[in-house]
Point group: C2
Chain length 306, copies 2
Amino acid sequence: MAGLIGTVTLNLALDVTYGVDELVVGGSHRVKAPLQRAGGKGVNVARVAATLGYQVLALGFVGGLTGEIVAEELFDAGLTALLTPIRGETRRTVAIVNGVDGDATIFNEAGPSVSEDEWRAFHDRMPWARLGVLACSGSLPPGLPADAYAELAVRARHHDVLSVIDVGGDALVAAAKAGAVVRSNGAELREALGELSVEEGARQLVAAGATAAVITDGARGMVAASNQGAWRALPVERVAGNPTGAGDACTAVVAAAVAGSPEPDWPVVLKSAVAASAAAVLTPVAGDIDLEAYRRWQPQVVVQSL
Amino acid sequence: MAGLIGTVTLNLALDVTYGVDELVVGGSHRVKAPLQRAGGKGVNVARVAATLGYQVLALGFVGGLTGEIVAEELFDAGLTALLTPIRGETRRTVAIVNGVDGDATIFNEAGPSVSEDEWRAFHDRMPWARLGVLACSGSLPPGLPADAYAELAVRARHHDVLSVIDVGGDALVAAAKAGAVVRSNGAELREALGELSVEEGARQLVAAGATAAVITDGARGMVAASNQGAWRALPVERVAGNPTGAGDACTAVVAAAVAGSPEPDWPVVLKSAVAASAAAVLTPVAGDIDLEAYRRWQPQVVVQSL
């Protein structure tokens, strides 16, 4: 079983989606029972990796009855999960999707606090021997140390497991220093390192200690850097749709590549990552990708050495 | 224990309330964990009756994890409940309350279908010997017969229990024919009987078989009719606030009076009902009343014989 893609979602959520004909502020709306899915960036990574045919293990915290619904939904979705119970109640996000234009109005709960004991319990049950890679994504719940992802990366390394960490700000630099493969986007990169090009930023992260850095660059494509070089993949045809979850599709591809080899063929990985991100934009729900579009685009992506 | 006020809420809900600074359509809002309460008109009746010092038994259907939360919240609120399990998932209502003006934007789920077997199970566990009165309020879930309340009223009578039924439309006339004490408002009354005065409507319902009719008449107060006569109570001082739940406060007072005697002193009941309704408007949440205001207003209400 070695080779599982472990996906870490420290701030798991139940995503609740209501459809309305038209959202009227101050109005009263009749709605059907909502669509409910486990959510959080790490769950999107797990879903995309599973869709691409990889074995995944979803890791995170769950609490209360909302946590039970999250666990059930992961099970129903066919995602194997190893969830650490917490005293607090798992958070929800509520999205009201307007029938007129498909726009979503979103309400995000902050999430329950995670105690030191619960964080220790999470580490204690980590099945390192079964993991090929550990992919960590998304916000941290209250109570956890700011360097929680870096801590996971160090522990992963100790067990000869490489980690892929999608994060912004100071945590991005900390993850690089801990030797992880780091994932981020242009805006978060500049938030962490100041004004600079995505190429320069990716190289700085590798210089700081990252095994590799893969940075999405919006309409300009995607950049990867490692000790072997740096590359830019150009975007596929202009895609319209829901960009939420596109970065998570990239993380899923990167994690799957790293599970196979700590120094994968980055130009090939970038081709798959760009195709998967674009294929995620085509679907209305984060965590889903259009597999047919992915397969069509993957060979077409152009990668340049920088 | 005879003398319990049984409150029937056939379409129980979990009322979920989120506070936002300002609701922006298409926007993303950070919110705290929501306030969650058991809801539905019958639950409001139970809360008000309990606040006024009466023993209540909340009756209804619950299903799924949302149903568990409803049952827990009733328990935490100190309301004894006898809940019939159903296969479907208990519905939720979601209210987004705007910090700017306090206005609520509301999303109401229709609720799960109740099967014939579940409806029979509801009847089978009805503790008639312990009930002083049965108060039925609010919408019917899908699956139940349109005359469900009239059926309950007939069964109640068979066990020498009087029922108070707050309903509109055809079901109002059916409840009157079944001999219940009927509760409604002016708009629902006219929907059932056509254009006529509230006094005339109340008298028609008694002529149709109702033990009594108590109709709220908005800013014009409240009217009661029985075989002993008809009365109008004038409203107290103009009250600003949240009118949701004011009618349920009236039903709670009427149910408590009827539990004591099938032909209570209606002018006295009307004084309490008007005071309780106004005291409900003062509180932001349906099901709560301002007990001090209730006690202050009750002796001040003016009742006229019609």
